[in-house]
């Protein structure tokens, strides 16, 4: 796969280009350049480490929505087996920005629900850039109730710039669809583990984000609105997005500090998109451990703890 570099990765991209060039030259001539290449590769590694050791919040926000970042459908075959996608909200439509279905996790039946962004232009449009409509949240609701009925744990995967702000979405009750999920998820009698894999913005993220555990990939973000949205409201200019990203404390590291995220899954050097298999296997391990913990609890304890957790947010207890 040809890597796509972000602005702040340009020095790395330049070195990589040099290596590629040397390789081309090497093919045509007899000069041995392996040494030179491995030296440069070592340099790339050091450079990447140094750039990624001091990322700003805004740079993390850009990584969270990197065009090559793994999406839910990339993760599913790496984390689960026997996936059967289930479609539709049984009311209006099938929202392709929200994917759901049953699968097996370490052999056990589970329910999977999450946002899906597209990769190429056509797919992006079909998936509506991961912005779900009311029917997406209602499909999620239907599948969650199904999971509760058959005692399946629920895994949700969050990666959205927000719920879709469209005319039809308003007509069909975007607010009501999200609100209902918040209420239902607070009481579902089955373990719910939410993972933020990319960007988690606004009610669109929270609409499938209430649960017993919140996990975040290292370069994922979670906030009330996108940095651009926050900047245009508070700074009156979307160009102030880097300031807004910093002010909102939206990175995984900040959320762990705020006791909102439970665990961070470290990403491979350069971000999840460099090694999807590696991040998936780390994620799988954490999901396995967390689920095992939750499954030792009785349903009553599970629900009490979930409620306590929700109630603590924004109180002195959360700071403890």
């Amino acid at each position: 796969m040809h890597l796509n570099y972000l602005d702040f990765e340009q020095p790395i991209a330049e070195l990589q280009a040099k290596i590629d060039e040397l390789r081309l030259v090497g093919k045509d001539s007899e000069i041995n350049i392996t040494d030179e290449i491995s030296k440069l590769e070592g340099k790339i590694d050091d450079l990447t480490k140094s750039i990624f050791s001091k990322l700003s919040d805004w740079q993390v926000a850009q990584l969270a929505r990197h065009p090559q970042r793994p999406h839910l459908l990339d993760y599913i075959p790496l984390l689960f087996t026997d996936f059967d996608e289930l479609h539709g909200d049984r009311v209006f439509a099938d929202d392709k920005a929200m994917v759901g279905g049953t699968a097996r996790f370490n052999g056990e039946p589970v329910m999977i629900i999450g946002h899906q962004k597209g990769r190429d232009t056509k797919e992006k449009a079909r998936r509506n850039f991961g912005m779900a409509s009311p029917e997406g949240y209602r499909k999620a609701e239907r599948l969650m109730l199904l999971a509760e009925k058959f005692k399946m744990p629920i895994f949700t995967f969050i990666d959205t710039p927000g719920a879709y702000p469209g005319i039809g979405a308003e007509e069909r009750g975007q607010s009501e669809a999200i609100a209902k999920n918040l209420l239902i998820m607070s009481q579902l009698k089955t373990p719910i583990i939410c993972t933020i894999t990319g960007e988690g913005c606004s009610g669109g993220a929270l609409g499938i984000g209430v649960g017993d555990r919140l996990l975040m990939l290292q370069y994922s973000t979670y906030s009330v609105i996108s940095p651009e949205g926050c900047a245009s409201i508070l700074w009156k200019s979307a160009a102030k997005a880097p300031d807004a990203a910093a002010a909102m404390n939206m990175t995984a590291q900040h959320l762990l500090g705020l006791n909102i995220a439970d665990e961070i899954i470290p990403e491979p050097l350069g971000g999840a998109h460099r090694h999807p298999q590696e991040i998936a296997s780390r994620l799988k391990q954490v999901l396995t451990e967390q689920l095992a913990q939750l499954q030792t609890m009785s349903t009553d304890t599970l629900l009490q703890q979930r409620y306590k957790r929700l109630r603590s947010i924004g109180t002195a207890e959360q700071n403890a």
Binding site: A163, P165, G166, I167, A169, E170, E171, R172, G173, Q174, S175, E176, I178, A179, K180, L182, L183, I184, M185, S186, Q187, S202, G203, A205, L206, G207, G209, V210, Y222, S223, V224, I225, C230, I233, L234, W235, D243, A244, A247, M248, N249, M250, L255, L258, I260, R306, Y307, L310, R311, I313, G314, T315, N319
Partner: protein, 295 residues
């Protein structure tokens, strides 16, 4: 300056620079919709509904509860709850300074007022948002007061009523504010489990995180006439879809048409309608108000 004003000798002229006001503050006020000049005392007797055009003028949270509860029956709930700047947020101004300014302007600690009292004799816990306080936005203090009020309803086995008016989540509390949506919704789930009714009265305007949580979760949703209610604000939608929005988009009437509110109720009828509904939904028999016996 009008020709008339020019006739007044300059020493008794009272105009203050560019600021043009239709009517002086105090005894008289003006309807923001039809510009009719109204006698304030009479307007207040009319629950601040314009007698000329029926426009429902926006109310502060405290005034809202004042109109809703029977006189002198309200006991405040959660008055101790104060906002906190957990993220040390700063845009063009410090959030801390914005809070102080809003507190000074409204005389309230934050954007939600709560209390228990009687509504035409029916005991109720009610909360009301205050749009004057940072757009009625929901931060941790609002979420906490809401949840504590729901607790009070559950403990006393009382029905719960909310008057919503809000721009949504409070940006300056970022993810903490987002999670207040989950917190308040979870509290309402507990109320439902306890078998107690929840009525939400949606008033102008109710948007974003408040509409996508507590405001849309009423067992009964009532809207005031011509209130603006939605998830995303109309300007953002217009910019996203690049279409002109349909006539009456996101009004109470639009929501009624699409099935998201049970009824639209004139403010002057709210006490009657809400208490009548609550009496039917409250499990324990409500002691009859003596006026009803008198009939």
């Amino acid at each position: 300056m009008s020709w008339f004003k020019k006739l007044i000798p300059s020493r008794i002229r009272t105009d203050s620079g560019q600021k043009k006001r239709g009517v002086p503050e105090g005894v008289w006020t003006q309807c923001p919709a039809c510009q009719a000049v109204l006698y304030r005392a009479e307007l207040q007797r009319n629950y601040e509904v314009c007698p000329k055009c029926e426009h429902h003028i926006r109310l502060s949270g405290r005034r809202r509860l004042g109109y809703f509860f029977d006189a002198n029956t309200m006991e405040e709930i959660g008055a101790y709850i104060e906002p906190e700047d957990r993220l040390k947020f700063r845009d063009s101004k410090k959030y801390k300074d914005r809070l102080i300014a809003a507190q000074k302007k409204t005389g309230e600690k934050d954007a939600l007022i709560a209390g228990r009292g009687l509504v035409l004799g029916v005991p109720v816990v009610a909360v009301a948002f205050d749009f004057n306080f940072i757009g009625g936005s929901m931060g941790a203090a609002v979420g906490e007061k809401f949840a504590v009020s729901v607790d009070a309803a559950i403990q006393n086995r009382l029905p719960f009523v909310c008057f919503s008016t809000s721009g949504g989540a409070r940006m300056q509390e970022a993810v903490i504010s987002l999670l207040q949506m989950a917190k308040t919704s979870a509290a309402l789930a507990q109320l439902g489990q306890a078998g107690l009714p929840y009525i939400c009265v949606l008033t102008d305007p109710t948007y974003g995180g408040v509409s996508a949580s507590l405001a849309m979760l009423g067992d009964i949703n009532i809207a005031e006439p011509r209130a603006m209610i939605g998830f995303t604000g109309p300007r953002v939608i217009e910019q996203t879809v690049r279409e002109t929005l349909p006539e009456g988009f996101q009004t109470s009437e639009f929501l009624l048409e699409h099935g998201f509110v049970d009824m639209i109720t004139d403010r002057r009828q709210l006490q009657t309608v809400v208490s009548r509904l609550l009496k039917k939904f409250t499990p324990t028999p409500v002691v009859k108000h003596h006026d009803e016996f008198a009939e």
